[in-house]
Amino acid sequence: MAEALARITKLTDLGMIQIRADLAAAGDAIAAACGVAIPAATAMVAKAPRRLCWMSPDELLLVLPLAEVPEAVVALTAALEGQHALVLDVSDMRSAFGIEGAKAEQVLMKLCPADLAKMPADGMRRTRAAQVACGVWRQGDGFVLIGFRSVSDYLLGLLNGAAQAGTQLDPR
């Protein structure tokens, strides 16, 4: 009996804060409040235990331990006071999954129309997994995939299905 292509785990300790602002004007204030530098487009900056991800030209996502969320929301809100900006705790509307193992990439290759093999170590790729939106970054020997909590069961089913033993993409 072959092994599953990857270990799929649900990550339950990830807090997420959505930040929408004019990044050119507010970048320094956001970086100072997060304690993490502003990432380049389609990239992320990891500074354990935090991770600041570039989501769009006017949107960032701060990923951090759940316990640090309330304090970070207060700090960011204060830093962006007076600007046309949004700081929102979105932890409860997102789900995150770990996809770990040597063939983790193959699991995502089946689900996402993105060339994840070419994604750099600090890449943050927004794409879709089958029929739902998701975001993917590299972590350890695999990936983390985030999606909406409302489709959490669907995502977990997809990932486990795509990771099923014996379904590797290499020639047998």
Binding site: S56, R126, T127
Partner: protein
Amino acid sequence: MLTLTCPCCGITAEETELHPGGEAHLKRFGPGSSDGDFEAYLFARKNPKGVHFERWRHAYGCGKWFLAARDTVTLEVFGTYKAQNPHPTPEIVASIRAKRPDWQPDWTETKTSSAESLTE
């Protein structure tokens, strides 16, 4: 398969990551316009065999709208550009001309329109 490079984030996305938005560079005719102009704004669309300009949204990505120039027959993509442009950019025009020497733009360049002064 159609792949377009989003000018807002730089990701080269394939068709299923994008949402089509129809013809680009439509001028809105709203309250106070003539019935004819309003009807044309709502319903009249170009349907060219060849060079065409379209709106697309990077739906499964950065979420931004952008514009694309492509050939409706060969599906060749001449380029993509930001939605703030009131007309296809000189780079896009040059890229089309390089491949379709006989093609003629059907708009007249105006100096500075209000759309050009919009910030992104």
